[in-house]
Amino acid sequence: MLILHCPYCGVDAEETELSPGGEAHVKRFGPGASDEEFRDYLFARENPKGVHFERWRHANGCGKWFHAARCTMTLEVFGTYSAQTTEPPKEIRDAITAKRPGWTWREVE
């Protein structure tokens, strides 16, 4: 029963007020995309033990979608932010790096 702060209406919402929307920052592929791109867009999801970005809707509240950055292992919430962005804002990334030194956004190995 998580508590997440809705960045739109300012309420600290309990999980019963929220509905989950899976992984955040998934890029949409449409007509013209290759089979692999489209498969990954539809089905391939991260399942990290650690820092994760999720979509949530304040369904039984203001109705707005927002994003949450949290740790799936410790349940720590690094912050919530507008869903109207294609990547986590700098202050969120900084908050994560402060708690998880060495972490980077979509690190390429």
């Binding site: 998580l2 309990e14 999980e15 007509p31 349940l75 720590e76």
Partner: protein, 1003 residues
């Protein structure tokens, strides 16, 4: 025998006798008794039968960990199975029945299983019932089902009420023993809001039984003083009979309060579920004594040493007259001393440690007790009651040195902290070699939203077993929790506890150490599920190395007690068999609730009428008054049909179809979803949502559209009306309004947030009435107010105006194939318009029709229904709806998915009509069979029925179905075997059965 003694009994009131029955036999106890203590006072040691072998089972514990003494309580609507006698407070008139036996507790036929125990080892079910295959379905499964399940499910509706209760606290302390009291006090002194809950009716836990001194007082005096102090603090809430059931993410805690179980005549709810949010949680849940694994440790009369002490001190009950105490630690000496002082004969204390114990042993010896060190129980004999004990050396195979006649055995295998609540939300454990226990690892505590620990264990639950250490630990936990919650703890001293020092225990997981197999086969680990040391060893030999797998293979710890007694002994046995260290084997996962909680408490008030809201259209009452048979659709109730006197339901439906096709019918279509989509980018947005083009729709016109998910599957359909350049009204299915609106919002907010579009779900703002049939126009014209002629309001257009003085918007759309007007009206005037239509319609023969007539008429026209023709795997192309898919649009939701190879596969089943050979009705959902059989020996299939009705218009059965290469096989006859054994034959035809050219709707 077990009996009430003249002394002791701190919790009972001997001046208040209480009458109760057990298996119909009248018995009596005292106020303050538990059912278990009262049964023991009546010499009722045998209380049940085990699950697998139906072995006689006696009371073994005194609290929530009891695996054996499970009874059915109450009668009729108040009956409840699997209640623990040890946690059931006695009240006048209580009636209890023992479980899992036939025909009687004393004589049980199933006990014959016990004789076959060597043929029923771990994994027996998996090994035996595989072959021959057909035996499973016809012989094994029915037999196992009959013998499965402990207790009987209640048959009547629960007569009691339940409620939920919300609470917020800075610090929640779970467990009201001395640790919980000390922690609550030190936390509360900081000013923090504290909730202290205790599962039993009494505060102080074990301390009054175990003795010692706190701050120079008896434990009882200190408990009373601390309780008074807590009660005087306005920031403290105390709740006895309230169990901490679970600890969850971000400080969510469930409490389970039993309000009237002990006094059923009291008014008010029976159970209350506390839904608590806490900044900090302290689990002061104590510890549970472990049994010792020796042969015959399940014979009634063998009991935990601490439980036996509880029965003497708390209830004045001696569970035996001649007792043998067996132990690997000093604590059991407290039981020996207590028994001796209560006048019970203690024949032996068998201390498995070669060097014996410490000061407590000396105290026992000074009372004249015989103490044999390095000794063990070889075997306990007895059927329904202990008769004698064979004594052997602990270091050996179990050759009996002597046999001693006795009627009870008190055993102690050491203590395990109750780490359940610590573990629920991710708290990790560490193995303490010296105390042979898993205890909470404070470095790996459950963490909250800030990444900081929010749970702390205190006292015995934290692995501190001596009174002094318990109090220091708990005081510190309270202060530190208060500080973490943002308060400043007072600099007070921790309460000082004095208790006799103890010698170290010896970890002993099998008694004697090298017990031969015949003894290991009688050494029980799990009393309720009949799992023995030999079963766990067998599982290890067969390769079950993971404790989670062993649990499921042997059923160890899977009974209603969830392994509270058996868990640690079982995994220690597994570790030994694997030659591994206990910490590397680890524990199984602790999951909430701590002990079972009632379904009633979980449901709370949400039952009957308030289980879920009922949505009513503005015309609902009229339907009810006119004999509607209801059909639930989403949260709505829609009339299925309106039965008239002398009609069957089928007759009524047929009449409604005929009347609508021949004269005029009225349908309450208010439940249809209505979503306004508005803004400069509304057309562009709808082009993405619908498969067809919506942006080209002219204001004033209507267009049917299909909506797909990004996976390509059809999710909803309906008519879109363009109101003006920037405004569209999208109709959705009745069940789809909310999720389609959410679907729109999701795409607008998360993908196309720069598009200027607003959406509003106005489903409930408007009533909608369909007036359908050849006389529909005449009926509307008789009301007057607007021109509804073909010229003024052609098919697939809409217009605003008034009817009978009521402002309306009329859509010329048809789901029946008839001349049809769907009239939208403000919800508040929906009933008035309906009444006027019904009144004026009488002259035209108007009749209301329900959802079944609606379905038949749409099927006659070959119109699909979301949920019938679609099931989440069907794409529009399967349904012959390619005409409604734009070829021009570059993109829409689902377009790319519909290009995937599986979606373009010519082998996909396609929609066709089906006409039965004998004019009968095809069974719904029936499959069309093909030649040959599949790998499972089942008939191959080539299609299935999606909708099937008797059509009164055609006078025959009609159906729609998805069939392999269906559209190319017109005229072919398919066979549909029914569950009735009949083969139904149907011919593949065009799905449009009625008015193929659409002349009737376009008049």
């Amino acid at each position: 025998m077990s009996t009430r003694i003249a002394t002791q009994g701190r919790l009972i009131d001997r001046s208040k006798p209480v009458r109760f029955t057990f298996n119909g036999k009248a018995m009596s106890g005292f106020a303050g008794d538990t059912l278990a203590s009262a049964l023991l006072a009546n010499d009722q040691m045998l209380v049940g039968r085990s699950f697998k072998y139906h072995r006689p089972r006696g009371i073994v514990a005194s609290g929530a960990e009891e695996p054996n003494a499970l009874v059915g309580l109450g009668q009729g609507a108040a009956f409840e199975p699997n209640q623990r006698a040890t946690t059931t407070e006695l009240f006048d008139g209580l009636s209890a029945q023992s479980q899992n036996h036939w025909p009687s507790l004393e004589f049980d036929v199933g006990a014959v299983n016990s004789g076959f125990a060597r043929f029923l080892p771990a994994g027996f079910y998996y090994k035996t019932f595989i072959h021959p295959r057909p035996f499973w379905k016809h012989i094994y499964e029915p037999f196992i089902r009959q013998s499965a399940g402990l207790g009987k499910a209640p048959k009547e509706r629960d007569a009691d009420t339940y409620e939920h209760f919300y609470f917020f606290a800075d610090v929640v302390v779970i467990g009201g023993g001395v640790a919980g009291l000390a922690a609550a006090k030190s936390a509360a002194e900081s000013g923090a809001k504290v909730l202290l809950i205790e599962q039993t009716a009494h505060w102080g836990g074990r301390a009054p039984v175990d003795g010692g001194e706190i701050d120079g007082m008896s434990p009882e005096a200190w408990i009373a003083q601390t309780l008074d102090a807590l009660k005087s603090m306005p920031n403290v809430t105390l709740r006895p009979r309230c169990m901490g059931a679970g600890v969850y993410d971000h400080g969510y805690v469930l409490g389970y309060e039993r309000l009237t179980d002990h006094a059923p005549e009291t008014a008010g709810p029976r159970h209350r579920l506390w839904r608590i949010r806490a900044a900090q949680v302290i689990t002061a849940t104590g510890a549970i004594e472990r049994p010792l694994s020796f042969a015959g440790n399940d014979v009634p009369g063998v009991m935990l040493a601490s439980a036996m002490r509880d029965y003497v001190v708390n209830y004045g009950v001696a569970p035996g007259q001649r007792v043998i105490v067996v132990t690997n630690n000093d604590d059991a000496y407290r039981t020996a001393i207590t028994l001796k002082r209560a006048g019970v004969e203690v024949l032996r204390v068998l201390d498995a440690r070669a060097s014996g114990g410490g000061a407590l042993m000396e105290e026992a010896r000074s009372l004249g007790l015989r103490i044999d060190c390095g000794r063990a129980v070889a075997k306990v004999s007895g059927g329904k009651r202990v008769t004698k004990v064979g004594i052997c050396a602990q270091e050996g195979q179990g050759a009996a040195l002597e046999e001693v006649a006795c009627d009870a055995v008190a055993m102690s295998g050491g203590w395990s902290p109750v780490v359940h609540l610590w573990s629920h939300c991710g708290g990790k454990l560490t193995w303490d070699d010296a105390l042979a226990m898993f205890r909470p690892d404070p470095k790996r505590a459950p963490t909250g939203a800030d990444g900081q620990p929010f749970v702390a264990a205190a006292g015995a639950a934290n692995g501190e077993l001596s009174l002094g250490a318990v109090l220091t630990d708990a005081d510190g936990a309270g202060k530190s929790a208060a500080k973490s919650a943002g308060f400043k703890p007072k600099r007070t001293k921790a309460p000082r506890g004095d208790a006799t020092g103890e010698a170290p225990l010896a970890p002993i997981w099998l008694m004697p150490r090298a017990a031969k197999v015949s003894l290991r086969m009688k050494a029980w680990l799990d009393y309720q599920n009949d799992v023995k040391v030999s079963d766990v060893q067998l599982a290890a030999r067969e390769g079950y190395e993971s404790v989670e797998h062993t649990k499921r293979y042997t059923t160890l710890g899977m009974a209603t007690d969830q392994g509270k007694l058996s868990n640690i002994n079982g995994l220690a046995t597994l570790a030994d068999a694997l030659g591994a260290e206990i910490p590397t084997v680890g524990t199984t996962t602790f999951r909430p609730p701590y002990t079972p909680i009632s379904f009633g408490a979980i449901a709370g008030e949400a039952r009957g009428e308030v289980f879920q809201p009922l949505r009513r259209t503005p015309i609902h009452d009229w339907h009810e008054a006119h004999g509607a048979e209801w059909e639930p659709v989403g949260h709505w109730r829609r009339p299925y049909t309106y039965r008239q006197a002398g009609e069957t339901t089928h007759d009524a439906v047929m009449r409604e179809v005929n009347n609508t096709r021949q004269a005029v019918g009225m349908l309450d279509a208010s439940t249809l979803g209505k979503i306004i989509v508005k803004g400069p980018d509304a057309g562009r947005f709808l082009d993405m949502l619908y498969t067809n083009m919506m942006s080209t729709l002219k204001p004033g016109k209507c267009r049917y559209g299909l909506m797909c998910s990004e996976n390509g599957f059809l999710i909803d359909d309906g008519v879109v009306a363009r109101i003006d350049e920037q405004t569209f009204l999208c109709h959705t299915t009745t069940g789809g309004a909310e999720h389609i609106h959410a679907h729109m919002e999701e795409w607008l907010q998360t993908e196309w947030w720069d598009w200027q579009v607003y959406t509003a779900n106005v489903t409930e703002q408007f009533a909608q009435i369909a007036v359908v049939g050849p006389k529909a126009r005449a009926l509307l014209e008789s009301l007057g107010g607007m021109d509804v002629s073909k010229e003024a309001l052609p098919f697939m257009t809409w217009a605003d105006g008034t009817l009978a003085g009521i402002p309306v918007r009329i859509y010329r759309i048809s789901f029946s194939g008839e001349l049809s007007y769907e009239i939208a009206v403000r919800a508040g005037q929906g009933r008035a318009l309906w009444d006027r239509l019904a009144q004026a319609g009488a002259a035209f023969g108007v009749m209301p029709y329900g959802t079944e007539a609606l379905h038949i008429m749409r099927a006659e026209k070959g119109f699909i229904m979301i949920g019938d023709e679609t099931d989440g795997t069907v794409i529009p192309q399967d349904l012959g709806l390619s005409w409604a898919i734009s070829k021009k649009k570059e993109d829409y939701l689902g377009k790319r998915a519909q290009q995937r190879s599986h979606m373009t596969d010519p082998e996909r089943w396609k929609l066709v009509g089906l006409e039965t050979e004998d004019s009968g009705v095809l069974p719904d959902g029936a499959y069309a069979v093909a030649e040959g059989r599949n790998a499972n020996g089942q008939r191959n299939v080539q299609g299935r029925v999606t909708s099937t009705y008797h059509s009164p218009t055609l006078g025959r059965g009609i159906a729609m179905g998805l069939v392999l290469h269906g559209p190319d096989r017109m005229g072919e006859v398919l066979e549909f075997p029914g569950t009735d054994g009949k083969i139904h034959k149907a011919r593949i035809v065009d799905p449009v059965f009625y008015d193929k050219d659409g002349e009737k709707q376009n008049v």
